[in-house]
Symmetry: C2
Subunit: 648 residues, 2 copies
């Protein structure tokens, strides 16, 4: 008998060789029908793998990332099978599950596969799926594995096998198809009810441009046709909301080849949006006792030797900037923390002065390969809404809670209501991987978990996921179309205070090391704006939107009245534009809708005579004619609903 513990803590005593599927069946038949895969003692296994020792079992269904992973990886096997069948002589390489679906990289040999071939391949994949083939994992010796692929004339698999340890090598068979594979499959192909191949692209073997180019075929699959339909609709919706498309249409930002890839240029409307985000957070931070500082965008190499960044990231970063004489070397700032440590260092502190909270909208530069760049979400230069809190270990608890309050305030004001959190703590079995003493770590981890609990966060704890320098809390938000984004991070750091020899004088008159907290509610302004555009489809919260009102003149005659209205709105801090072009009012309304102005004000004969304005809302709602002050109240009420005052 062995003891199998389930995630809810329940322990089942079962005979050796019992499978996860057997255990699912013992719980409920419904569960058994839905189990796709499992993990045992944190190792991915098949639902049909016999359990041979005591351990922790997690059963995965479609609702778990683990379940989707097994589903998509299994579909990659089916794809590979069909490709081999349809294109004899191709060489298989690897076929993993990815965030949304899977891919398989093949060396196409003499064949050319194009998107036109997708329907035929998809059809055949579904035929194979319906044949209910089991995925069977079997151990193979290194010798036999090499022999198999030598006979297959597949140098890629041979290279993979050569890097594996004899005894750890497994093949997976289904139908008459065999692949080198570590495991993590569905019980059988019949689960796959819908398949869509989505894209074809070139990819280098092992991601190295010096290696041969392969053909990568992307796809996604589902246990129900309906889920595929929803997925395709989501993709369609995501495309409409793509921040690169909307950002260009709304004149928010642009890129220039001459300035450089991945280096956004913020156009006036985008810069105004950024500025408003900055001022919004600055105001909240001021109330929470932060102080703004300003530091340069470069630092002497010595600064990053001290911080440890140079050793860790130097080779993969923008290379050092040399000086024409004096032989100095500077680095583009990849992060603001070393500079803030030097600001802290500029004078002596007593425990009575702490916490010090230094905030800076600091622009940092990190090298990314051009192929990795993507709109504002993956750039080479971005502005962090950064702050570093230097506090005593006793203050960590309160500081952490205050930071959570601030992050929640930011999310709430920007319409992100759906979020979860992850607390990353150290692996207590590997203390050598972390800096700082165990007592302090325990205290910090407890502080974070207490804070998360007290603030009512929906959080998971991930053991072993902490950085070497301290535990952390990350926020994941769900956007309006259900996609998850990592936003906002709070990290405890024991390392930098040590490396920069930061001190404060304690009440015992001795020098102590402060603890440091890194935190950024937005993360980066660039990425945040991108996510906000995709979340709101460009319909920003009213308080934030570049132009809140478009004033449309029925004819040029009413321009003067329109300008007066605009000025009166400005006096009430409402941002408006006047459209006095010689166009029909119908056209002006249609264009305003497209440009996503929250409100349109129409001024013509009647309005000018009666000193009224006619108000329409984005989306079509017509509020009719009203006095200006009524409209001002309407706007103010809407803003007040979204944007509460921050009360730390």
């Amino acid at each position: 008998m062995i003891r199998v513990r389930l995630p809810d803590g329940a322990v089942k005593e079962v005979t050796k060789g019992t499978t996860p599927m057997d255990i699912a069946s013992s719980i409920s038949e419904g569960l058994a029908r839905n189990v796709l895969s499992a993990s045992y003692n944190e190792q991915t296994i098949e639902a049909v793998t016999p359990l041979e020792e005591d351990g922790d079992l997690v059963l995965y269904t479609w609702n778990d990332d683990g379940g989707k992973k097994a589903f998509w990886h299994s579909t990659a096997h089916v794809l590979a099978q069909v490709l081999e069948e349809q294109y004899p002589g191709i060489k298989l390489t690897i076929g993993p599950a990815i965030g949304q679906g899977f891919y398989y990289d093949i060396d196409p040999s003499s064949h050319t596969v194009t998107e036109k071939d997708f329907p035929v391949i998809e059809k055949r994949m579904l035929e194979v799926a319906r044949e209910l083939h089991r995925f069977e994992i079997r151990k193979v010796s290194k010798k036999d594995a090499l022999a198999y692929y030598t006979q297959e004339e597949n140098p890629f698999k041979i290279e993979l096998i050569q890097n594996l340890v004899d005894g750890d090598i497994t093949f997976c068979d289904h139908a008459d198809f065999t692949d080198l594979c570590r495991g993590g499959h569905l019980p059988h192909t019949g689960f796959i009810k819908a398949v869509k191949l989505t894209n074809i692209a070139g990819a280098y073997w092992r991601g190295d441009e010096k290696n041969p180019q392969l053909t990568r075929i992307y796809g996604v699959s589902f246990p129900k046709q309906k889920l595929l339909k929803e997925h395709l609709e989501l993709l369609e919706e995501a495309k409409k909301r793509d921040h690169r498309k909307l950002g260009a249409e709304m004149d928010l930002f642009t890129f220039s080849k001459k300035v450089g890839q991945g280096l956004p240029l913020w156009l006036p409307k985008g810069a105004a949006l950024r500025e408003r985000l900055e001022q919004f957070l600055k105001e909240a931070q001021r109330k929470a006792g932060y102080e703004q500082v300003v530091s340069p965008h470069i630092g002497h190499k010595e600064l990053y030797m001290t911080s440890g960044h140079y050793e860790k990231y130097g080779a993969d970063s923008f290379q050092p900037i040399k000086t024409p004489s004096e032989d100095e070397e500077f680095l583009l700032k990849p992060m603001n923390c070393p500079h803030h440590c030097e600001i802290y260092s500029a004078r002596n502190w007593s425990y009575r002065d702490l916490p010090k909270r230094y905030a800076e909208f600091g622009t940092v530069y990190r090298y990314e390969q051009s192929g990795e760049l993507h709109g504002l979400t993956r750039v080479r230069g971005f502005t962090q809404d950064d702050a570093h809190i230097f506090c005593t270990p006793d203050q960590l608890d309160d500081e952490f809670k205050s930071v959570i309050d601030l992050v929640l305030y930011v999310f709430g004001s920007l319409g992100f209501d759906n979020f979860t959190a992850q607390v990353s703590i150290r692996d207590p079995e590997h203390p050598e991987k972390y800096i700082g003493n165990v007592d302090e770590w325990e205290k910090a981890e407890l502080a974070i978990m207490n804070a998360a609990k007290e603030k009512g966060l929906n959080y998971v704890v991930e053991t072993g996921e902490a950085a070497f320098y301290g535990p952390k809390l990350d926020f994941m938000v769900k956007d309006a179309i259900g996609r998850s984004w990592q936003l906002g991070t709070i990290q405890v750091d024991y390392s930098l205070p040590e490396r920069f020899e930061l001190t404060y004088k304690g009440s015992d008159n001795e020098q102590h090391r402060p603890v440091m907290i890194h935190r950024a509610p937005f993360g980066s302004l660039e990425r945040f704006v991108a996510i906000l555009i995709e979340h709101t489809a460009g319909n920003f919260p009213l308080w934030l939107t570049p132009n809140q009102v478009n004033i449309l003149c029925v004819s040029v005659k009413y321009e003067k009245y329109a300008k007066k209205v605009s000025q009166l709105l400005e006096n009430n801090e409402i941002r408006s534009l006047v459209d006095n072009r010689n166009e029909t009012i119908g056209k002006k309304i249609r264009e305003s809708e497209l440009q996503k102005f929250p409100y349109m004000i129409i001024v013509g004969e009647k309005e000018a005579t009666d000193s009224l304005i006619s108000v329409r809302e984005h989306g079509g709602k017509d509020h009719g004619a009203m006095p200006l002050n009524e409209f001002v109240s309407m706007v103010e009420d809407t803003i007040e609903q979204d944007l509460k005052e921050f009360k730390p």
Copy 2:
């Protein structure tokens, strides 16, 4: 007979060989007594140089830079003479006049000169001066000049002579002293009535650290003892106001060796000051129709090849930043204009869209040798209050006037009431030195001069001082202790629109080049803050000062009331701190005075009971007890006096 024209346009017909001094005598004896030197046809000459051809004569007295230059350069000769006398065997190198005084670089041979020796040297210099030695310039052949210094065993002078053209070489004699010299001296040593040696320092021969180190002795001299006294008092006052000293005392900024020399770190109070300056200018610029943009701090090398900056400054700048792969090269941004050109380029424009006014507080980086760095006035990274206006040639006139209005508004709001302007135009005799066509230049120059005249500026026109790309207007302000600073510049640019191929569609439906205006009222925030600190001795205008009020508790008992007062002030946008330390009120008042708080509020028993506050002004004025709202009005009135609303 020759014709000599004076600056007022008067022409004198005199015999060949007449000297400037003769002409001065013919005007008035007073003038003749005060003439120190002259220029003829823009060449510096002696007051006693015979005039041999027609030309333009300017007579220099102590009130002219040219007169001071001759005065100080002549004193350097006397210094050299005395040094040779006192330290036999030293080698002379060069001894020019500088901004405030002069220096002489010597190779001290076996001697050591220290500041302790200054009184003896000064005394002897004045003895020589009183002997009324004439400075006599004589031509020497290259051969004779080399022979003289070979016999003197002076390799420095030999090196200098080797680089001179035979026929152009002159020596200057006075008393029994001879020096290689181009000219520009006083008539005789007797003018020198006061001498002060100010400093001694090391300097490399020809400024190159690979060359031998020399000893540089700095000094200054005057035609009256009283002027020296005033000068020393000014130095003393300047020392007290030194922004490096006050900046540290007031916790505004700091430097860190690890971050790098010349890269300021702005501490919270300094960052808040900067932010207020930025917001102040942003608000005025918004009203003047500027739009903020944001661009990165690096740019691809190609950007600066296009702009021409790489060719011109590349070798002396921070060197290119290479990437770890893809072999790209970026440069730290030395100026914002190329980025703004690319922003303009991002779409098509019609003449109806212009002018576009792109503004950015853009941080730029320029390499300066470490020896050149000085506090915030000479740094390696600084933030320009930059903007670029893209307009049609017809709009240049109005745009230029608007920019002047803005600059004058900035100066007025910050207490710089004493300023002059310089209009720099092209040299019409050398059209090949300039880009753009003559008609446009003429139009632009006229536009600038008209604007300057219409705005009532006190300006001079300097022919030939324009940049190759366009004419400009620079502002010089005088600070509270009479020193001049260059602040604020407005430049027309025909070159960048050409290089970046910028266009707009004119009313003729053809593509045209816009004209560009570069402008920065502050110049750089760093330098401006430095000047403002020295101008105000740290007593910033009330609207700008970091903390306007220090609330002093008579005892800790009144902390609660003090905090309430502070909160009420904050509600009225008045920035205050509470000093609740357990110190005597006398000590707190003294410290507040030192820290330059504009107001102190004292709260004790009486104030708390009667809901009043006692108010003291910086400098000692006691306003007595008053209700809070009375104080608020007082502060608001003061601010309104300094900071008017900008009405473009």
